[in-house]
Symmetry: C2
Subunit: 339 residues, 2 copies
DNA sequence: TTGTAAGCGTTATCAT
DNA sequence: ATGATAACGCTTACAA
C-alpha cells in the first residue's frame, strides 16, 4: 500500500525545500530548469496530486457545489441534476447531493451540514414542507453569510437570490389553448395542493386560457389530488361524474393515471378525451397512446442553474443584481391529443 | 454579511487563547465552568460551527463518500443512490456523485478527481465501457493507495474488494420456472450485449431453468438488443417471426416495449404471451396490464453498500477479508403473467 | 535560485 | 485552569 505522496515527501526525498517543490511543480521561473526537471520527474513517477482539502483550506473555496433536491427518484429532478453535474464537472466542480425528502427539517439540517465549509454554493429546489410552512430563514442566513444560492423550479419570492424557473403559466395556457383549438370545451385540470407554486402557476395558465376563450370556469372540473400516487379511485370517480373533453395534468403520473383510467372507462383517447401531462419522462414515451406532454427541459434548467451559481461564485465582489432565468417549456404533441 | 466565525475570532473577542476555546467547546474538564459557560454562550450566539475542511485536513478523513454511477436518469441507479444517501447521511457522511455516462474515461477522471482528498471511499457501478474494455487499473491503484471501494451491481471478479450484487442468475431461473409452471414452453429472452455481467448472469439463469425442465434451448428465441431504446423494429420482427409463449426481459424498458408490441400485434397478455421484466420501476406499475417484474431492491442494495464502505473505513487497520453480499431479488407477479 | 515562515481552522500535546 | 506550539498539506511573500 503506497499512500498518497505529498510535497513534503518529495522535498525530503530530493533534499530541497517544500516551497521549491511547490514552485517547481507550478513551473515557476524562479526555479532552475535542472531542479524543475528533477522534481517534475519524481512527482510524475510517484503520481503526485495536490491534496484537495489542503487547497480548499488555503484558498477558502472547495470547488464543491451543494445540491438539495426533494426527491431523487423523480424524472424531472434527475434530469436537472444531470444538467448540474455535467456543467459543474466541466468547470472543475464536484457536486454533493442531499435529498430533503420533501421535509423542511432535512432541508435545513443538510444545508447546515454542507455550509460549514464543504461547499461554495447551493442549488436547490424547495421541499414541499418548506413551501407549506413558508419558512425560509435557513436560506436567508446562508445568503447572509455570503454563500450564494440558486433556486430552481420550486422557488419563492420571499428570498432574493438567483432563480431558474419554467414558464409554467404560459405553457399551461398553451396546452389548454391547444385543447380549445382542437374542439374541446369541457376542460379539466388535475392538480396538487396549491402551496406548490408550480401547480399554482399552471392553474393560473389554465384559468387564463379558459377566460381568454370565453369558456366559463367550472370549479367541478378542477380535481385536486393529495399525493403523487394512489389516487386511482378519486380519478375514476371524477371521470365517472363529469363530462370532460380534455384534461391537463400537472405531472406525469397524474397524466398516465388519467390516460389509463379514462380508457378503462371505455372512452377513446384522444377522440373522446384528450390528455396532456407535465414532464417528458419515460412514462409518457411508453404509454398507449403516447402521452402528449410538457417538456420541462430539466437538463437545460440544471445547466443554467449551475452556470449562474458558478458565475456568481467566481465573480465574487462584483455584486451583480440577482437574476431569474426562465426556461421555456415545450408542448410535445403525441397520441393523447388531436394534433 | 456576517461571515462564518472561527475559533480564532472567539478567542480574540473573549481574550482567551484558541486552545481554550477549542477545549471549552468540547466540554473539556480542563476548563473552568465559568470560562466554558462564557465561551459556549458566545459561540452559540454567533452560531459557531467548526469548519469541515479544517477538520478534514486535521483528521485525514473527509466524511464524504464518492459515488460513481453510469447514469442518474435510470430508476435502478436512482434507488440505489437513495439508499446510499440515506444510510450515509444517518452516519454523518455526505455523498459526492459523479456520473460516468457509461464512459471509461469519465469514470477514471472522476475517480481521480475525487481521490485526491475529497472522499474517504468509493461506491461504484462499472460503466459499460469499462466492462467492455475489461480495464480496471484505476480501481487497483486506488485500492493500493488504501482507498476502500465497494462495487455494486456491475462488478468484476478482476478486482478484490467489497461487493454487493443481485442474485441475478437465481431470480432469472425463478422467473423462467414461473413461466414453465404456468404452461409456457417456448420461452424467449430479450437481453443486452453480453459484456454486461448482469445480463450474462440472467442469461445463465434462463438457460439453466430451461435445461432443468428438459426444454431444449432455441437460440432463435434469444434476442440481443444493442441499446436501451429504439429497438421497436427489432422486437416487432422478433415476435412476428417466432412463436413465443413467454418472454423474460433483462430490463424494464425492454419489458415495456415487448408488452406493448406484443399487444399491438394482436396477442393477449398474459394469455397468449406472458412477460416478465427487470426493475420494479414506475413503468411497470403503470403499464396495461401491469408488468410482472423482478424487484431489485435498489435502495436496500445502496444501504448495504454504504454500510460495508463505512464499516471498512471506520475499522481501518483491522483488515477484514473482502465480502460479497447478495441482495435477494423478488419476483413481483402482476398482470403480465399467469399467476 | 533556493529557502523560511506565516497562514488557512482545527486539535492534541506539552508547558506554565 | 489556561496557553503556546506543532501538525495536517499547500501557497506565497519575503529573505537569503
Amino acid at each position: 500500500m503506497k499512500s498518497k505522496i505529498t510535497l513534503k515527501d518529495i522535498a525530503k526525498e530530493l533534499d530541497v525545500s517544500i516551497s521549491t517543490v511547490s514552485k517547481a511543480l507550478k513551473n515557476s521561473k524562479e526555479i532552475s530548469k535542472d531542479t524543475k526537471d528533477k522534481i517534475k520527474a519524481f512527482a510524475k513517477f510517484y503520481n503526485y496530486r495536490p491534496n484537495n482539502i489542503a487547497l480548499s483550506l488555503k484558498n477558502k473555496r472547495t470547488k464543491n457545489i451543494g445540491v438539495i433536491i426533494p426527491d431523487i427518484v423523480h424524472h424531472f429532478f434527475t434530469t436537472v441534476f444531470r444538467g448540474i453535474e455535467k456543467y459543474a464537472n466541466e468547470q472543475g466542480y464536484n457536486v454533493i447531493v442531499c435529498v430533503s425528502d420533501e421535509s423542511f427539517e432535512k432541508e435545513v439540517v443538510n444545508m447546515e451540514m454542507l455550509a460549514n465549509g464543504s461547499i461554495d454554493g447551493f442549488i436547490l429546489s424547495l421541499s414541499a414542507e418548506t413551501q407549506l410552512k413558508n419558512e425560509f430563514s435557513h436560506l436567508k442566513e446562508l445568503l447572509d453569510q455570503g454563500i450564494p444560492i440558486v433556486l430552481f423550479d420550486r422557488v419563492t419570492s420571499e428570498i432574493d437570490c438567483d432563480k431558474v424557473i419554467l414558464n409554467d403559466q404560459e405553457i399551461a395556457h398553451e396546452a389548454v389553448s391547444h385543447f380549445i383549438n382542437t374542439g374541446a370545451r369541457k376542460i379539466a385540470l388535475v392538480t396538487t395542493e396549491k402551496f406548490f407554486n408550480v401547480s399554482e402557476s399552471r392553474a393560473k395558465g389554465y384559468l387564463q386560457a379558459l377566460r381568454k376563450n370565453d369558456i366559463k370556469v367550472d370549479e367541478k372540473l378542477i380535481l385536486t389530488l393529495p399525493h403523487d400516487n394512489d389516487n386511482a379511485t378519486l380519478i375514476r370517480n371524477f371521470f365517472q361524474n363529469n363530462k370532460v373533453d380534455a384534461v391537463l395534468c400537472v405531472n406525469e403520473i397524474f397524466g398516465i393515471q388519467c390516460l389509463s383510467i379514462i380508457q378503462d372507462l371505455g372512452y377513446k383517447v384522444p377522440n373522446d378525451i384528450s390528455v396532456i401531462g407535465f414532464t417528458d419522462g419515460i412514462l409518457s414515451r411508453f404509454s398507449v397512446p403516447k402521452l402528449s406532454t410538457v417538456a420541462q427541459h430539466g437538463e437545460k434548467m440544471g445547466e443554467q442553474a449551475a452556470q449562474m451559481l458558478i458565475n456568481r461564485m467566481e465573480s465574487l465582489g462584483e455584486e451583480e443584481p440577482f437574476k431569474t432565468e426562465v426556461i421555456n417549456a415545450t408542448l410535445i404533441k403525441r397520441g393523447s391529443t388531436i394534433n
